[in-house]
Symmetry: C2
């Protein structure tokens, strides 16, 4: 299927809708079975009121009985979103729900600023969660360092990033959280087949994986194909390297970025 190109006539809800339609088509889900839709985004349609999930709900022609809202998180958003939606589904006894990531930074990137304009790519993904999953979502670690939020923020419509500060943060905080996660779960990277870091930049991925030298080869880098697609980067790795590959059973995911916010979890095929 062809995907739409971001432009004036394609908004966040359109990207979300496209991913949603591909998903329900691929997994043979009826629209009427979907009980909740969450969109992870910080670049919703218009001025963010209403939420993009409502607009997408309308465009998709979903039923009244669907819960829909946006989660405002950046590059850690997919890891958070999986656990938020899983928790809500258990709480509400839902059978099927969809987690969407759609955060087109082209809306806020200054094309003249080569530190950001060459970095980001627009993408949207949709993930089906069910009460009878093929992949288990373990218990995440989720963190925030709000005091450093000025490392990455939008002002007057343009994203400002202190690349060095984000790099230093990621190099310090992410390996530490991964190590804490592994220790807490009494495991090490030997029992993980793949590590899907947020695809922030090659330098960041290299810095993080250098802390786990023995298992360096498990850390995916697909930046040359997609760029930094914000909250979509991890699900893109999962789609390309995990879901359809029978050899890969256990994947560690770790997202980090705006907030500053970061989160780590493990997904395992059942």
């Amino acid at each position: 299927m062809k995907s739409p190109t971001m432009g004036k006539s394609v908004d966040t809800s359109d990207m979300a809708l496209f991913a949603f339609n591909n998903l329900i088509d691929e997994y043979d889900v009826e629209k009427s079975e979907v009980e909740a839709v969450i969109i992870v985004t910080q670049n919703p349609d218009g001025e963010g009121l209403p939420h993009a999930a409502a607009i997408m709900h309308g465009k998709a022609g979903l039923e009244d009985s669907v819960a829909a809202f946006d989660i405002s998180l950046g590059c850690s958003g997919y890891v958070y979103g999986l656990s938020v939606l899983k928790g809500l589904m258990v709480e509400c006894d839902m059978k099927k729900a969809v987690l969407i990531t759609a955060d087109p930074y082209s809306k806020v990137v200054d094309r003249a600023d080569r530190t950001t304009s060459l970095l980001f790519g627009d993408a949207a993904t949709a993930t089906l969660l069910t009460n009878n999953p093929k992949v288990a979502i373990d218990r995440p670690l989720m963190s925030t360092r709000g005091v450093d939020w000025k490392s990455l923020f939008v002002q007057e419509g343009v994203v400002n990033m202190n690349g060095r500060a984000v790099y230093d943060f990621a190099r310090e905080a992410v390996p530490k959280q991964i190590a804490e996660y592994l220790e807490k779960n009494k495991m090490d990277l030997s029992s993980v087949d793949l590590v899907a870091l947020h695809q922030g930049s090659s330098a960041i991925i290299d810095a993080i994986r250098s802390k786990f030298s023995e298992h360096k080869g498990k850390f995916i880098n697909n930046l040359e194909y997609h760029g930094n697609t914000v909250s979509s980067s991890i699900p893109i790795v999962l789609k390309e390297q995990f879901l359809d590959n029978d050899q890969i059973k256990v994947v560690l995911i770790s997202g980090f970025g705006v907030g500053l916010s970061w989160a780590t979890n493990i997904l395992r095929k059942i």
Copy 2:
């Protein structure tokens, strides 16, 4: 304690911080015990990147190990937020977390537009959720009608509301959802002590309660004191009429508005 007045120097995260500090003070919670903070808002600080919860996290001096994000929902947001946070806490085995509502419509209200400028009030609330609660949160009904999102939206910094369409929606959809909720749970309003509707307008509250004539007196209207405080309206009713009143044990809450989105649930003292 005095509360801050919204102005150029007081932002959404400041209102959230104020409510948060009052809460942990009142309930004698240590900052270090808080494991997650969610802010329900569609008017975050700046341009919404980062999320207000991160900025508040920094201002509050919370620890790295706190999960923090915003939920983008309007007047249904508190009802949704309770179940989202409850679900996440179970999923992540958290003991204490805080749900904040802070949606200052003064940021987007056109003061010359009397249909909206006289309606909205700024407020923030904070609710403590624990794994050993004094109030149980039942299973909600959550709905969305995205096809009608143009009844209430922001464009060029100003909120546009089709008051008639919102009124018609609320009058039709909310009593229907409440009735569905009661039927699903095999109960009627006789076993409810209080109904805390979103305080949208007196006309809307009157229209909804007229459908439940026998129990009309249970429907609170505090609009003359606070105005429409968006996602804060229900928790304000709960604070004023439910939490400290031993006679009131079971309250039905129902929020509705932007999206369009609506949700109903029951809270009961344990």
